[in-house]
């Protein structure tokens, strides 16, 4: 971090009326009262969850993971362990083996994600060099035992089959490296909004 990255904020000077609190509290009360009696707004915003479901946020919601398939229907993962290294919750467990296919060296024989430990940060998706692991917009993730919540390769591939029409794989033909040359991704600089 450099010196110019540090923003020193001065406390705003308060006027005498503001220091008496009460006018400000009145303003606050007006806001809360407005929301309280704004029935139309409430009806527009509220979804009665199990009966009404909200539209899935396809672009940016981070829900259950899926393991993508390449166009040939094989698992796209190349067992590079990038995701499990990046994972802050340490919840991805991969066992790699030599790949039976000529276009890559390794593939995962086992790929388990503990969905209960996961914090849905999306780091795995960021880390994956071939976009094999992705987070889907599905949030209804329930189970009755802990063991049931450890999703294995089959289950994760299954989720891909269920969701691929809703949200296609981000960079489909990337597994055969070099051919597409990779694609640019829009990545925001850290602190992009604060530095002047």
């Amino acid at each position: 971090m450099r010196d110019e990255d540090v923003l020193v904020l001065e406390e705003p000077k308060l006027s005498a009326a503001e220091r008496m609190y009460l006018p400000q509290i009145m303003t606050g009360l007006r806001t809360t009262l407005r929301h309280m009696f704004n029935l139309r707004n409430r009806d527009a915003v509220v979804r009665e969850y199990p009966e009404q479901k909200r539209e899935l946020r396809l672009d940016n919601y981070r829900g259950v993971h899926r393991l993508n398939r390449d166009p040939d229907g094989r698992v796209a993962c190349v067992a590079c362990f990038m995701c499990s290294t990046a994972c802050p919750a340490d919840c991805i467990h991969i066992e790699a083996a030599e790949s039976p296919w000529p276009d890559r060296e390794k593939y995962p024989v086992k790929f388990d994600i503990d969905e209960l430990r996961c914090i849905y940060c999306g780091m795995c998706e960021e880390a994956c060099p071939v976009d094999a692991i992705e987070l889907t917009p599905h949030f209804e993730l329930v189970g009755t035992t802990r063991a049931e919540m450890i999703f294995d390769k089959e289950k994760l591939l299954n989720i891909y089959d269920q969701t691929k029409d809703l949200k296609p794989r981000k960079n489909p033909p990337i597994t055969d490296y070099g051919l597409t040359g990779g694609q640019d991704r829009e990545v925001a600089r850290p602190n992009a909004h604060t530095t002047t």
């Binding site: 540090v6 220091r19 509290i25 009360l29 929301h35």
Partner: protein, 435 residues
């Protein structure tokens, strides 16, 4: 994914007709019992001592149901303010939610930490509950009642106890409730709880002072400590005390928030900083007792403010007309008005909770000692002068004094450059070193 199957009892509970049947059933049962037992009830109603005992029993029932309604109302209001709907799953419009909550409290594991101070740990919630119930004894719910079968001129008072130190009694019992918090914090043997208890002590001690000063102004002007007489005065003159002492009311209102541990003064609980504060270690019914204590305290405090400043059961323009009437029908009307005012106050308490963020502890102390206490003292002097000049029931002169005090306070705040809030001059400079 498949839809959740809705259970039959769930459907039954959520229908409006279930609610209506339950209400009608309760009314019929209550009415029938009263009719059957009427010959025994009648003499009990006519003597003040037995009537007080009846009031006490009824009062506890009403209070506990009021508490149940309060918990629902709090969550509903919280929901509405945040553009949500609040609980609406149990019963029609969520009306059976308190029942579900009560069952949950009863069935939960009652846990006592191994290193806790057992007797004190058990004592604290009891103090919280009992002390908050004590205040009810002197609230004049509906003035005097004259039953049709009583000899003329005889009345019973709808107060459990009519004692001549009324307001002082309320103050004394009200400030006892700090023991519950402190003892709970101490006995839990938990640092969070301990901090909660410490904060509560300092806060309650500080806000007793402005509360007392604010009340003193009214009491000076009224010349009595009996709540029923204060209400009667306001009803007879048709002027509520809040018009005579707006600043005193403000002081009492703010201190009441602090005394009942409600936001923005809920530093003793402070979920974000202290987990749960003094009740971190409490579960099940013991936690519920703290909860009931808090709400009951809120109801008592609202009832006190209504009696002192908002004319108790006196509606604004026709107070005098109700003041002379002692028929039991009118007593019901009076009680309705009183209860309505109290519920408005409680609604206000809840609305404030979702409006203002919590104070920092130093701000809290500064507000009490540098803000409220000086104004309170000046106000007591002002009221004293008015009383000496026999102008205490004159709206014009009272308002003049209040406005003068307010502008003086604003002027001092402006001139002194002493911040009540924000960064203090005597705090060390912030140093931004190399990073």
């Amino acid at each position: 994914m498949p839809d959740t199957p809705t259970k039959t009892y769930d459907l039954l509970l959520r229908r409006r007709s279930t609610l209506i049947i339950a209400a009608v059933g309760a009314a019929v049962l209550g009415g029938g019992l009263t009719l059957v037992l009427w010959p025994w009830i009648k003499p009990l109603l006519s003597a003040q001592s037995t009537f007080s005992i009846l009031l006490m029993v009824a009062g506890i029932g009403i209070l506990l149901s009021a508490f149940a309604i309060c918990t629902l109302a709090e969550r509903k209001i919280a929901g509405f303010v945040q553009d949500r709907r609040g609980p609406n799953r149990v019963g029609f419009w969520g009306l059976f939610q308190p029942v579900a909550d009560g069952l949950k409290f009863l069935l939960k594991e009652d846990f006592i930490p191994a290193r806790a101070d057992r007797p004190v740990f058990l004592l604290a919630p009891c103090i919280a509950l009992v002390v908050s119930l004590l205040g009810f004894a002197i609230i004049p719910w509906a003035g005097e009642i004259h039953w049709p079968w009583m000899p003329a001129g005889h009345t019973v008072s709808t107060q459990v106890a009519s004692i001549n130190v009324g307001v002082l009694y309320l103050l004394a019992t009200g400030s006892l409730s700090v023991y519950a918090v402190v003892l709970a914090g101490w006995a839990s043997n938990n640092k969070y709880a301990h901090f909660g208890g410490l904060r509560a002590t300092a806060q309650m001690l500080s806000y007793e002072v402005p509360l007392g000063l604010g009340l003193l102004c009214v009491l000076l002007a009224c010349g009595t400590l009996r709540l029923e007489e204060i209400v009667q005065q306001q009803a007879a003159s048709g002027v509520w005390n809040v018009f005579l002492h707006p600043l005193a009311f403000l002081l009492v209102l703010i201190s009441t928030f602090a005394e009942t541990n409600r936001t923005p003064f809920d530093l003793a609980e402070a979920e974000q900083e202290l987990v749960g504060g003094f009740h971190t270690e409490y579960s099940s019914m013991k936690f519920a007792m703290f909860f009931i204590g808090e709400y009951t305290h809120m109801i008592t405090a609202s009832a006190l403010m209504v009696a002192l400043f908002f004319g108790g059961w006196a509606p604004l323009p026709f107070g005098g007309f109700l003041a002379d009437s002692t028929a039991w029908g009118w007593a019901l009307v009076k009680f309705g008005i009183y209860a309505g005012k109290v519920s408005l106050f409680i609604g206000f308490f809840m609305l404030i909770r979702w409006t203002i963020p919590r104070f920092r502890f130093d701000q809290l102390m500064r507000l009490a000692w540098k803000g409220l206490v000086p104004i309170g003292m000046a106000m007591v002097v002002g009221s004293g002068v008015l009383v000496a000049l026999e102008r205490e029931r004159n709206v014009f002169w009272s308002l003049v004094v209040n406005v003068a005090l307010l502008s003086a306070a604003l002027g001092v705040a402006r001139l002194s450059k002493q911040e009540i809030t924000g960064r203090q001059a005597n705090m060390p400079e912030i140093e931004v070193g190399p990073v």
